[in-house]
């Protein structure tokens, strides 16, 4: 299918823009314009004469509803007709030219909305002020006598009215007011409401264009294989064996570690690649296995040196004097994101211009990768985003990833657009994996069963050491993110008040490249901490909820969500016969989240999750319907990980190659998810896409213990013979 601009209502700028190369319709030269030629009223809004409102979004859409939420916030302040709103993605290249007028593009860390709400709302409000001023100027009346609603401006005294589209050209020429007042969220009419997403229609009729669907004149397709052993390189390959195969145009080396076949169709490219003889130099990691990695981590549990993430009192001393000591060791594996749409990107290179089109969570990160790989200056580079078929952290900015590869291929065939698509197998073997971690927890109870001391020793991989080494350097070697949910302060702060506390991390990095996997380090930290809390409560002879409550005196919002799930699940009341409950909570990404599950277990190993309640206090809720979907979706992602998912290492490479070895939950296993939304306001907005993911696993594990008396301390459960039914 040739690209059709109609298919780009969402992201029309992204792809249409790239193809229309410099297209500017003749509406006058003096103001900046959107792709459809409509004038920009401030950088966030461009309005066409027919009242179509283009709202600019630079964060990516990968399913979380981010573009809808951001548009709601802009439109709320703009007072425009929601039915005429469409989204336009400015490109990183335009952003560079305009001194980053739209701020940060990166869409990860659940920050799409929480870290841009203020400036996008101001953008909407400023545009409204400009439009009203333009109408007032035209009517020669004071702006204060005019009102705006639903894209219509009214001057009541003279009964005149006009629309945004009619005054947009004039408004675009007015100065952008700097200090506009924002609405009190309590008065929101559009934001905060459970409205439908903007991007659904094309997702039910097959028209939505993902990166994998791109087509351009003269485009060729590439399939790639990188050395399965991380750190290995290409020694040799025999192109002659496949160059005669149907459709094959070229066999190329990509960097020092990969080989690609370029063909007319991707299926031809992949078929040839499968037959291409390649000899690898597997390098120094060819003997590494899951067992050798586990040994290294295990040693870290006892290491003297460790980075401290949270400390008060003297935990070691207090543990020595405790009336009762409890100790447990937990473990969490490597996991792949397994986005539904495998990694891909389309690149075209000439010595004058290098452009890429496709799915990325971080337009600016992709831009930097294109700059580096093409060797061209910023003004000759751009990135056009499509819809993402899932992201979950995989499509962020990582060194030597798919964008770099595509540019390196395109450079070898100048002028030809190359669509690089990874097979699922390549995607499984070259992920940016959830870091591997072990943890020893030691708790001390006093004579009254109070938690007097706690030591949490993490041993394992740091994401930031691999991906953002400068942050680790600034922290003198520490990775603050490894303490997510148990950190000393900030958006991932520990909520429990323990008199003697030590949480430290023996950093043990592996050759397996780590990445930000939805929730990132809260997945393992919540399992470790919240399962151990249950262990401590039991040792103290106390109810798991009561035990936690006593430690949450200084964290009312944590208590709020925990109480909410407890009440909703019926904690303390008899459960149906054969049904057992568990709960957990955490603070992460500035949201307070809690979960409670009801499960039953048959034959000792078949787990049915009947209900799972998730409560979240993100401060503000921009779209409650989408939040519910994020909670339910997070639970699917988190529970799939808990029950099925582990990437094991053998001879230096990942063993699992596709969904038959790396399973994902199906509808039959889906529990009923009930969401409690408790936004308590305040000045800090919390994230939505990730935080709740982490409470599902410990809530279910705690329930499993109550059902069976067996405490499971490592993920995934398939390794313990446990099934999800």
């Amino acid at each position: 299918m040739q690209m059709n601009r109609r298919t780009f209502i969402i992201g029309s700028a992204a792809v249409g823009g790239g193809l229309a190369l410099g297209l500017r319709l003749p509406f006058g030269p003096d103001v900046a314009r959107a792709q459809d030629g409509s004038p920009e009223v401030g950088v966030w809004v461009a309005i066409a004469p027919d009242d179509t409102v283009n709202i600019r979004v630079v964060r990516s859409e990968m399913g979380q509803g981010t573009i809808t939420g951001l548009a709601q916030l802009v439109a709320e302040e703009l007072e425009c007709d929601w039915s005429r709103v469409r989204i336009e993605y400015p490109t990183p290249g335009e952003s560079v030219k305009r001194k980053r007028a739209w701020g940060d593009f990166s869409t990860g860390g659940s920050r799409g909305i929480r870290e841009s709400h203020e400036y996008v709302r101001k953008g909407g409000a400023a545009a409204r002020v400009m439009l009203v001023q333009a109408a007032a100027n035209q009517w020669k009346v004071p702006a204060s006598e005019c009102t705006a609603a639903n894209s219509v401006i009214t001057h009541a005294p003279s009964k005149r009215r006009t629309t945004y589209g009619k005054v947009a050209e004039a408004a675009a020429r007015l100065p952008v007011p700097q200090d506009v007042a924002l609405k009190d969220p309590k008065t929101w009419k559009l934001a905060g409401k459970p409205i439908k997403r903007l991007d659904t229609r094309d997702k039910v009729n097959g028209r939505m264009v993902y990166g994998i669907d791109l087509n351009m004149p003269g485009m060729l397709n590439a399939a790639i294989k990188a050395c399965p052993v991380f750190g290995g390189t290409v020694k040799s390959y025999d192109a002659a064996q496949v160059s005669g195969m149907q459709g094959v145009r070229k066999v190329v080396q990509v960097g020092d570690d990969a080989v690609a076949v370029v063909a007319d169709t991707w299926w031809q490219a992949k078929s040839a690649l499968d037959k291409l003889p390649v000899v690898w130099d597997e390098g120094p990691n060819a003997k590494v296995s899951s067992a050798t990695i586990a040994e290294v981590l295990k040693a870290g549990l006892d290491a003297d040196q460790a980075f401290i993430g949270n400390q008060n009192g003297n935990a070691k001393e207090a543990l020595g004097g405790a009336a009762k000591k409890v100790e447990a060791v937990y473990a969490y594996p490597f996991q792949n994101h397994a986005c539904m749409e495998p990694m891909n990107i389309t690149a075209r290179y000439t010595p004058d211009k290098c452009e890429v089109w496709g799915p990325t969570q971080n337009g600016e990160g992709a831009f930097a990768a294109v700059l580096a790989a093409s060797g061209l200056p910023a003004e000759k580079v751009d990135v056009y985003k499509t819809m993402l078929g899932g992201g979950f952290g995989r499509r962020g900015a990582y060194p030597n990833d798919y964008v770099t590869q595509a540019v390196l291929i395109a450079k070898q065939m100048p002028g030809t657009p190359i669509k690089l698509l990874w097979s699922r197998e390549e995607d499984m073997l070259h992920g940016r994996y959830h870091p591997v971690m072990q943890c020893r927890l030691t708790g001390g109870l006093d004579a009254n069963g109070n938690l007097s001391a706690l030591h949490m020793r993490l041993s394992g991989q740091s994401i930031l050491a691999a991906v953002r080494p400068q942050v680790v350097q600034e922290q003198k070697g520490r990775d603050p993110l490894s303490f997510q949910g148990v950190f000393e302060s900030g958006e991932h702060a520990f909520t429990y008040d323990v008199p003697n506390l030590l949480i430290d991390h023996a950093m043990r990095n592996t050759h397996v490249p780590p990445g930000f996997w939805r929730g990132v380090n809260i997945n393992q930290n919540a399992v470790f901490m919240e399962c151990f809390m249950d262990e401590l409560a039991e040792a103290a002879g106390q109810d798991a909820l009561e035990f936690r409550r006593k430690l949450l005196g200084k964290s009312p919002r944590a208590l709020g969500v925990l109480n909410a799930v407890a009440e909703k699940i019926g904690w303390g009341k008899p459960a149906p016969k054969g049904v057992y409950r568990g709960l957990a909570h955490l603070k992460a990404f500035n949201s307070y989240v809690a979960g409670a599950a009801e499960i039953s277990v048959t034959d000792g190993n078949k787990v049915k999750i009947h209900r799972i309640v998730g409560a979240t206090d993100p401060g503000y809720a921009v779209n409650p319907a989408q939040i519910e979907r994020q909670v339910a979706g997070s639970f699917v992602y988190g529970l799939s990980a808990l029950f099925f998912q582990e990437c094991t290492v053998k001879d230096g490479h990942i063993e699992q190659t596709n969904f038959h070895e790396y399973n994902s939950m199906r509808i039959a296993q889906m529990p009923k998810v009930e969401t409690v939304l408790l936004p308590t306001g305040g000045t800090v907005w919390g994230g939505i896409g990730e935080p709740t993911i982490c409470v599902a696993a410990p809530a279910v594990l705690n329930a499993y213990y109550r059902a069976t008396g067996k405490r499971i301390r490592s993920v995934p459960l398939k390794n313990h013979g446990i099934e999800l039914v």
């Binding site: 009729n205 087509n215 169709t265 539904m340 339910a632 979706g633 699917v636 509808i667």
Partner: protein, 153 residues
């Protein structure tokens, strides 16, 4: 040369007969609504209808589809009228990233044809598509809604 009937239109394609139907639909015919997720019949993203039945086209050679009636997500609506499953999907705001949804919708449409009023157990047995975004709760609601629209129709 293989003769394919897709969404009521005939396409003559010059292609290796072992090529999976999925890639012919996407690359030769140019209908990209049908997605690639795994290539080994695990995920269902590539589901199309062949003579009315749901088939995972990534694992179905194009030669076996010759002469059969193939429907893809693009051909599910009747002109401007969305299929009742698509309509229910819109009303229940089902898709997140949306990538799996073409396959999900095709699988559900085939189920409803066979069982106009499926029970939850019927759904569990028939719908085995992977959705990494985890839209199952809305999928189930929307299936029941579409089935009720069915009953009324």
């Amino acid at each position: 040369m293989i003769r394919l009937s897709i969404n009521g239109k005939t396409h003559n394609v010059e292609v290796d007969p072992n090529t999976p139907l999925l890639w012919v639909i996407r690359e030769q015919v140019g209908l990209t609504g049908t997605k690639y997720g795994c290539g080994i019949a695990q995920c269902g993203a590539c589901t199309v209808h062949i003579d009315g039945a749901a088939v995972r086209s990534c694992s179905f050679p194009v030669s076996a589809a010759a002469g059969k009636r193939i429907t893809t997500i693009e051909g599910l609506a009747q002109g401007k009228n969305l299929h009742k499953v698509q309509q229910a999907w819109l009303e229940h705001d089902v898709p997140q990233c949306g990538y799996c949804q073409s396959g999900m919708i095709m699988a559900v449409a085939a189920l409803l044809k066979e069982k106009p009023k499926p029970t939850d157990a019927d759904i569990d047995a028939a719908i085995t598509n992977i959705c990494r975004c985890g839209t199952f709760q809305q999928v189930r609601e929307a299936i029941h809604a579409a089935a009720n629209a069915n009953a009324k129709a």
